[in-house]
């Protein structure tokens, strides 16, 4: 484990200023520790000297030592107050930095994930959503102890050791030499132990993540397990998994706790060595008691931050491992500027609404190393309802993903404007998305009201969508209501009123209801933005015959308005209503009269 990953400083600006402030506070802390030790040692030495005189001159009993020591005691009290204030300041600075850094990393990596998907890396297997949720949520919280307990001590270590050592050297060279000889042993052992446990610790973190994924998988699948009366067997399974995890973790801990052991041992042994050597020199009268006590007080302080680093090593390692997951996401983000839009010759704010064909040629798409399409040619003209058919698994949804720019492909996907004579430059994925309204196989609803889901946060008063105002909220409500009624949802249905609040991932609606809302969402986008292309994946899977017929009528009229409507459907009604049916299994295109 690197004590401090430079990527932390790069990706989280808050960590940089924290290091500066922590260093300043650390310096002040070291100064106060030295002052405290010096005052305490000299008070005790003076008391011993006074007691010596007292032994020789018993008559002195009436005179008091205390008044003489008042300035030193007052000084000690001031130093104590200062130390308390600094301790408070360090804690709050660290807490502030931790939350700031977490926010910066969380938002940065969320943005990086989005950029990755937008740039066509959507298929990367590391982006399992449960994993990403763990990394961006609970995973990042592992940074709390890293900031509050590990980093400040690390900074303090860097400052305290040289400062304390040089102070010791001015007072007692022998002690300074003892400390200087034992100290290097610690980093040496830390590096050795850290080196041997590094991979084991990373593996451990992965296993923890895997266990939490398995746990979620089991909980999510509880209903299915119960259907087949398998729920009780999973307990045994779970117990075995946890036991395996315990064995693995303990194996790692036995070694990684050794670093703490070495630190503890070095610190206490050097205290013992110094105490004994100072004691022997005091007997011989070669040393002042004040110096001896001062040295005894400073030596453990020199080791204290290092010991704290060691004690919190395990917590910090977890934080670092969690941060590494975030860095992985951040490192994988497409460099800014990489996804530059290639301007389409025909596109301008005004031209966007014109009808556009969908022309695909020599398309090759891979998924998991296997080619889904190889040299696919396909055309869906504007003003027509095209139905894509073919057995499941043939790649209909994959084709949509490629059109939307979520998958890398070879070949061309063009959206030529009809009145531009069919010539057009190839658009980037983002450029194509601008022109498309799409509803996928999964509904993709979020928490929020049904209206918010349909308008996708573009609906408020004065909200602007690419230069076009969606209009007043009353206007957008009207738009949403129309779209809902086009998918067979009446305004009087209390389950589906616009202000009904849904849970995360649209929880609260049945699959069919959610799907219909998602289609309405695509219709609203098409109409409010005048999207020339409308792509729908299995829109009627959850509709009854009447609702399906109504949706088909709607889509026909969208096509009549000049849109290119492409629908993936297995349903006979859709095939019969289509202007064009393309079977992806044979790539035969059947044009209906």
């Amino acid at each position: 484990m690197k004590p401090l990953d430079p990527r932390l400083l790069r990706y989280a600006a808050a960590s940089r200023s924290f290091l500066v402030v922590a260093a300043l506070l650390g310096l002040a802390q070291v100064a106060l520790v030295i002052a405290f030790s010096w005052l305490l040692a000299s008070i005790l030495a003076r008391a011993a000297a006074w007691a010596g005189i007292l032994g020789e001159q018993p008559g002195l009993g009436d005179a008091a030592l205390l008044p003489e020591l008042v300035p030193a005691l007052l000084g000690l009290a001031m130093v104590v107050l200062g130390r308390a204030a600094l301790a408070w300041a360090m804690e709050s600075v660290a807490a502030r930095a931790a939350v700031k850094v977490k926010s910066q990393l969380r938002l940065g990596s969320a943005r990086a994930l989005a950029e990755g998907v937008a740039a066509g890396q959507g298929d990367a297997p590391s982006r399992g959503s449960a994993h990403a949720v763990t990394v961006l949520g609970a995973g990042l919280d592992a940074l709390d102890p890293y900031f509050s307990r590990y980093l400040p001590q690390l900074v303090l270590t860097a400052l305290a050791i040289p400062l304390h050592l040089s102070v010791l050297a001015t007072q007692d060279l022998t002690t300074a030499v003892i400390v200087a000889l034992t100290l290097p042993l610690i980093p040496l052992f830390m590096v050795l132990i850290g080196y041997t446990t590094r991979t084991a610790q990373q593996r451990q973190w992965r296993r923890l993540d895997h266990l939490s994924r398995t746990y979620l998988d089991l909980v999510e699948g509880l209903a299915t397990l119960k259907v087949f009366n398998r729920q009780h067997h999973q307990r045994k399974n779970l117990r075995e998994l946890s036991e395996a995890q315990r064995h693995g973790t303990m194996k790692v801990l036995r070694v990684s706790f050794l670093s703490g052991f070495v630190l503890d041992l070095a610190a206490s042994l050097s205290v013992a060595l110094v105490a004994v050597s100072v004691g022997i020199r005091l007997i011989d009268g070669q040393m002042d008691l004040a110096v001896g006590l001062f040295v005894l007080l400073i030596v453990p302080e020199a080791y204290a931050p290092l010991r704290q680093v060691g004690t919190n090593y395990h917590a910090a390692a977890e934080g670092v491992a969690a941060a590494e997951d975030v860095f992985e996401i951040l490192d994988a983000a497409p460099a800014r500027g990489e996804a530059v839009e290639v301007p389409d010759a025909g596109i301008g704010e005004n031209r966007i609404a014109g009808p556009r064909d969908l022309v695909i040629s020599r398309l090759r798409v891979e998924r998991g190393g296997v080619a889904v399409f190889e040299g696919l040619d396909l055309a869906a003209p504007a003003s027509e309802l095209t139905v894509l058919a073919g057995p499941s698994g043939i790649g209909k949804s994959t084709l949509f993903a490629a059109i939307l720019g979520f998958l890398d492909f070879r070949g061309t996907i063009l959206l030529p404007a009809q009145d531009a004579g069919g010539t057009t430059a190839q658009l980037s994925g983002a450029g194509r998305r601008e022109l498309i309204a799409w509803s996928g196989q999964r509904h993709g609803l979020r928490s929020g009201t049904i209206l918010e889901n349909i308008l996708m946060d573009h609906g408020g008063d004065g909200a602007r969508v690419r230069g076009r105002t969606l209009g007043s909220s009353a206007g957008s409500q009207q738009l949403a209501r129309e779209a809902l009624s086009d998918v067979g949802i009446t305004a009087t249905d209390p389950q589906l009123s616009l202000d009904r609040h849904l849970g995360v991932r649209g929880a609260g609606l049945s699959g069919g209801q959610a799907h219909r809302v998602a289609i309405a969402r695509a219709l609203v986008r098409a109409r409010s933005q005048d999207s020339p292309v409308l792509l729908l994946d299995e829109p009627s899977a959850a509709l009854d015959d009447a609702a399906e017929a109504r949706l088909i009528r709607t889509l026909k009229s969208e096509a009549a308005a000049g849109r290119t409507v492409v629908v993936i459907s297995h349903r006979r009604a859709f095939r019969e209503a289509a202007d064009r049916v393309i079977d992806l299994a044979t790539t035969s295109s059947e044009v209906r009269a």
């Binding site: 926010s103 969320a110 609970a138 087949f228 801990l253 052991f261 105490a275 004994v276």
Partner: protein, 584 residues
């Protein structure tokens, strides 16, 4: 804040969960003992070093210091050694307990599926169950062990100090009490609300992150990434504010400990110096009586607080860890209260004997209730199905077809009469009922494993009993064999939540499970929703063919089904004013 009975019940639940996550004392004892030994070594190392140095300054004959020198070295060694052992044994005990807690939480969630677990917010569930269960490990390592060990060491040290100077011991004790009281009780008042709210906000943040990450393609396609990011940002900012409020407590504790330590040193000096005596000479006849303070004793008394306060620093940490653990336990208890032991072995009639030979399923005035709903979902239905007969159930969406399916498989309470080949359904345990009437869910869960594991789990005698040939036969029956062969056969991975397969394939896997289950009646809830029309017909025919013989199928659908595929049909109508969550 008033404590309602509900709160009390939640607290009781949380405590019972906590006691489950506390390792037995037998396992905790070594950790506590090693902690005490390590703490005592630390105090003795500092005390004996200070004593040694001050005594040495009096220049006694060197041999009188021999024992002290040995002591100083021994304590130096034993401190680190015992600390290492302590950390290992407490962690081991904690992990042992964690395994039990995981299983316990799973058992608590189990009765809630599928009816009460359905609309749960998934992101929240993830953070709760995983985070909170993991959080319970802190109980032995960060709460019980430090509290037990440091309390013992501090009390022992105070007793020793009291022998030299009762006044100093009293002062030290008073300062410890004040510091720790302020450090625990006062900061608790300060942070408890903030922490409760951060726990909630963390759940909310996880939800927003799920909404962001799970459907990134939708957000991108609708230009809504920035909007969702700003929602994440907004919750994150609120969480940040609350977390900072909660962190004030930590700063206060640090300041209190530093101040308390200084005050204890000053107190020892102020109380010790006025009663200071000439040094007692070291030697065989050395006598250091009760409450006699000479320079070496004064130095020891002044330095002991350094070690004592280092130990005491673990108390506020342990206290706030205890609070966190309790919050974790409460959240788990809240989502999943302790299961009532209800699913007992069935009583009454013994299986088939009481049922007529020619019966697969019989319903009479059968209706189903969503839990806590005032009225039944749909109007009562009656039907009688002989083995091998198939029933088609139609009805508008929302009429309660899914509810009926759940009722037939014992997941929802029903009214009316219900008999299966095994006899009256209410004489069977839900598990027995489900082994005879198998539900093929509309959105069956696909486990993140292989095709084989996903199918084999349905085998009535356990997954290990399912042979490859049998599974391959199943794949052929549901039309997945060609696809599977083009992949890795039965070892084809299906991905988390079936992410590597299509919706239609997932549905076929679900159907294959039903066939494997050996149940006499299969309830098919919209099996062809994700399958193309030609395939749907074929699948239905294959399925009914595979079911064959004496197996019956109840098919819930809103699409057309050729009449030769079923022998009876039933149309269900929603009951007036029915209110149910998410009726499919």
């Amino acid at each position: 804040m008033t404590v309602t009975t509900q709160d009390k019940a939640a607290l009781r639940q949380a405590r019972s969960l906590l006691s489950a996550s506390r390792p037995p004392w037998r396992q905790m004892a070594p950790g506590v003992l090693f902690g005490i030994l390590s703490g005592l070594s630390a105090v003795l190392l500092l005390g004996s070093s200070a004593y040694l140095i001050t005594r040495a300054a009096e220049q006694p004959p060197i041999l009188y210091l021999g024992l002290l020198v040995v002591g100083v070295r021994a304590f130096a060694l034993s401190r680190g050694f015992f600390r290492y052992l302590e950390r290992l044994s407490t962690h081991d005990a904690a992990f042992r307990a964690l395994s039990e807690v995981r299983v316990d939480a799973f058992s608590r969630l189990e009765p809630l599926a599928p009816v009460k677990l359905g609309p749960r917010r998934r992101g929240d569930l993830l953070t709760r169950v995983v985070r909170d269960v993991d959080g319970l490990t802190d109980l032995p390592t960060r709460v019980i062990q430090p509290l037990a060990s440091s309390a013992t060491v501090v009390v022992a040290t105070l007793a020793a100090v009291a022998w030299f100077s009762p006044a100093v011991a009293l002062t030290l004790a008073a300062l410890l009490v004040v510091t720790l009281l302020l450090g625990t009780v006062a900061t608790e008042a300060m942070t408890v609300r903030a922490e409760r709210r951060t726990a909630q906000l963390r759940g909310a943040l996880a939800d927003e992150v799920v909404d962001l990450v799970a459907e990134l393609d939708v957000l991108i396609a609708y230009d809504a990434v920035d909007a969702q990011l700003s929602r994440v940002q907004e919750v994150d900012a609120r969480l940040r504010r609350e977390a900072l409020l909660g962190a004030r407590g930590a700063g206060l504790v640090a300041a209190l400990l530093a101040g308390g330590l200084g005050a204890a040193v000053l107190g020892a000096l102020l109380l010790g110096i006025p009663v200071l005596q000439p040094a007692v000479l070291m030697g065989p006849e050395m006598t250091l009586g009760f409450a006699e303070v000479d320079p070496a004793v004064l130095a020891t008394l002044a330095l002991i607080p350094l070690a004592v306060f280092e130990l005491a620093a673990s108390v506020p940490l342990a206290w706030s860890a205890r609070r966190r653990v309790l919050t974790h336990a409460r959240r788990i208890a809240e989502i999943a209260p302790e299961p009532e032991r209800s699913e007992k072995a069935p009583v009454g009639q013994k299986g088939r004997s009481s049922a007529p030979e020619d019966l697969a399923l019989e319903l009479h005035d059968f209706t189903v209730h969503w839990p806590d709903a005032p009225s039944a979902v749909s109007l009562p239905v009656s039907v009688r199905l002989a083995p091998g007969e198939n029933l088609l159930v139609t009805g508008p969406s929302g009429a309660g077809k899914s509810a009926l399916a759940l009722g037939l498989t014992g997941f929802l309470a029903y009214e009316g009469r219900y008999r299966t080949a095994g006899g009256a359904a209410d004489a069977l345990s839900p598990e027995q009922l489900r082994s005879q009437v198998c539900l093929i869910e509309q959105d069956a869960h696909i486990f993140d494993s292989t095709l084989r594991a996903n199918l084999a789990l349905a085998h009535p005698r356990g997954p290990e009993e399912a042979g490859d040939e049998e599974l391959e036969e199943l794949l052929r029956a549901v039309g997945l064999w060609d696809w599977a062969q083009s992949q890795h056969g039965l070892d084809t991975p299906v991905g988390m939540f079936g992410s590597l397969i299509s919706g239609g394939q997932a549905q076929r896997i679900a159907v294959a499970r039903g066939l494997l289950s050996g149940a006499g009646v299969l309830i098919l809830d919209e099996p062809t929703a994700h399958v193309d029309e030609q395939m749907a017909q074929q699948l239905l025919e294959e399925l009914l063919g595979a079911a064959g013989g004496r197996r019956s199928v109840v098919l819930m659908t809103h699409t057309q089904v050729p009449s030769r595929l079923y022998s009876q049909s039933l149309r269900i109508e929603p009951a007036p004013r029915s209110e149910g969550p998410a009726a499919g």
